[in-house]
């Protein structure tokens, strides 16, 4: 691990052309971002349940406690509301805390400190103070952990003015977006995905920031625009590959940050293809893809639509335990292929 700078804030921008990527897993990438930020800036620290010796419930913090000590990689008791509140206070008093919540489902415990305190303090004080803090938490199903450990709750946070909301879908973004989140003077919720932790990808060694608020075009396509988040991005890409074999050209967009949302890239793409398929793991009703649908139809792309904007989402049900039910509860590659194909052929 190298850091290019020991100034504050944690090392300056790096020319991304100059850096040579290696392959890391998504969780290694998260860990590297935290390590580089902590090395560069004394104010940055990590705390949460079992982030120390245990290395994190999903092994994300790993050996950080050995590198930065138990003060800066701090185990907490099981008290999510208290922990997030402590992050708010530490941020207000000049630190740059990163809080890990073991499963994003447990943000429910901390919702007051997240939505009523962290998100609103800057505004309520008329700008007189900031709450720089990052809350990292893994979401998503696919591990057989059932209804209280598998939710995708991004829509809750994205509806709260004052929060920024990040959903990295690749290892490189897991690092680059987290670095931007740590730099940010606002509270940022970073929703990682359990199924992605072990996936690998090229990740620059240097602390290269990925800015918040830029939709990534993962694949270009002319027939249909697929917008997907989290683990659905790789499923959409796999689906697009299969659709291509069938003669359907599907583009895949990954918003990466829901708030701020770069809707311009989405709208432009939909205006060009005339068709939008919006794919999320979260239950359909009231999910964030509804927001994207609404923005598309409010935009100039409305006039270019050749088909209804279509959502492919998790079922409106809690996530079940049984593997065959769990799979059926959220979109799979087949579902995306079928739905995108229909959209192109029927309209």
């Amino acid at each position: 691990m190298t850091t290019t700078s020991d100034t504050r804030p944690a090392s300056g921008p790096v020319d991304s052309a100059a850096v040579e990527p290696r392959t890391l897993t998504y969780s290694e990438a998260v860990r590297e971002a935290m390590a580089q930020a902590m090395a560069a800036d004394d104010r940055v620290f990590l705390f949460g349940e079992d982030v120390g010796t245990y290395g994190g419930a999903f092994g994300v913090s790993g050996d950080l406690v050995h590198r930065f000590g138990t003060e800066r990689v701090r185990d907490t008791p099981i008290s999510e509301l208290g922990i997030v509140g402590a992050a708010v206070g530490a941020g207000l008093a000049g630190m740059r805390p990163i809080v890990e919540i073991q499963f994003s489902d447990f943000t429910a415990q901390a919702m007051d400190q997240i939505a009523n305190q962290a998100a609103k303090i800057h505004f309520m004080l008329g700008g007189a103070a900031t709450v720089p803090m990052v809350l990292r938490a893994p979401g998503g199903s696919g591990t057989g952990a059932a209804a209280q450990h598998s939710q995708s709750l991004e829509a809750w946070f994205a509806h709260v003015p004052g929060l920024k909301v990040v959903m990295p879908s690749t290892a490189a973004d897991a690092k680059g977006l987290l670095l931007s989140a740590i730099d940010d003077p606002n509270p940022v919720i970073v929703l990682e995905h359990k199924l992605l932790y072990k996936q690998s990808g090229p990740v620059p060694e240097e602390p290269v920031r990925v800015p918040l608020g830029e939709t990534a075009v993962r694949r270009t396509g002319t027939d249909v625009t697929i917008v997907a988040t989290g683990v659905m991005v790789s499923r959409a890409l796999e689906a697009a590959e299969r659709l291509a074999a069938d003669g359907v050209s599907a583009g895949v967009l990954d918003p990466r940050t829901l708030r701020p949302l770069d809707d311009r890239t989405i709208v432009d793409s939909v205006a060009a293809t005339g068709r939008a398929l919006l794919v999320q793991e979260a239950p359909k009703t009231g999910g964030f893809m509804s927001e994207i649908a609404a923005r598309i139809v409010e935009s100039p792309a409305f006039g270019r639509l050749q088909a209804p904007v279509s959502r492919l989402c998790g079922l409106d049900a809690p996530i079940p335990y049984a593997p065959q039910l769990e799979q059926a509860a959220v979109p799979q590659v087949d579902d995306i292929v079928t739905k995108a194909g229909e959209l192109v052929r029927r309209w």
Partner: protein
Amino acid sequence: MTLTTDPESARHALTTMWTIRRFEEAVDDMFARGLMHGTMHLSIGQEAVPTGACMALSEGDYITSTHRGHGHCIAKGAKLDAMMAELLAKETGYCRGRGGSMHIADVATGNLGANGIVAGGVPIAAGAGLAVRMRGGSEVVVSFFGDGAVNEGAWHEGVNLAAIWDLPVVFVCENNRYGMSMSVDRAFNVDTLAERAHGYGIPGVTVDGNDPQAVHDAVADAVQRARSGGGPSFVEALTYRWKGHSKSDKNLYRTREEIESWRERDPIAAFEAAVTGGGATAGAATAPALSASDVEECRTLARDRVREAIRTANAAPDADAATLTDAVYAPAGEPIAGGARA
């Protein structure tokens, strides 16, 4: 109730503990062989707590349980085949495969649910106690939770409600010294968690959680107090989990020696010694409650029950994805006598 001298009680306690142990060993094994899905929290080493506590309860009494809930479920009287079927994601499981280990419950025997949320069951227990109280019932609610749960806001609020309203709830803390990797020494600034009870104006005691008799006595006292309108109590049972917290645990936060020293205090072995007359905790010059062959019978019974449960469960149909959204909402107009149906 004297578990160690009364043969029937001794038999029940021993069989229950062995059943929990064998059930979880089987589950551990199936999980390792890839036959089981998800994650698992095993209570091997802690069997004396649910066993001693539930033997202090009567029919109609409720419990709330935890992520580490197989023992509570079994001790409260659940059927092993429906439990095993649940873990094997079968339609015949207690939760029709929707819940799995972390939500397993036999509502018919008063189990209001395991809970994937640490301390989630504590205010729920207070609410069940409130229901009992409002309808003039005499049932008692036992709320099981771990040491880690005691630092959650839900715990604080639930206990206080029970305390100020004198609700018939017994809070049973399974203090196995760790909340995942966080030791009680680091998570608390007090020597015993029972000290917390006094701040709510309720009695709190600490007992040997590896001794079903000690657990039983403390819980029975508390149950009697609750049943007679004396309000809630807190019982801290000191015990230990032999296995990792869950499947991802590398046991980095505790030593092999510590684990070994607790294995030597195996609650089942100690109880067997006690009931057959050789144990340190045995009474005076009374005859042993059980003979060696009685003990062997309990063991066999436990083993056979678990085997039979696995057989039955394996033969059952898988949970059916076609009906996945069935139980998201209870149908209106369904005749609901209580909130729960058996």
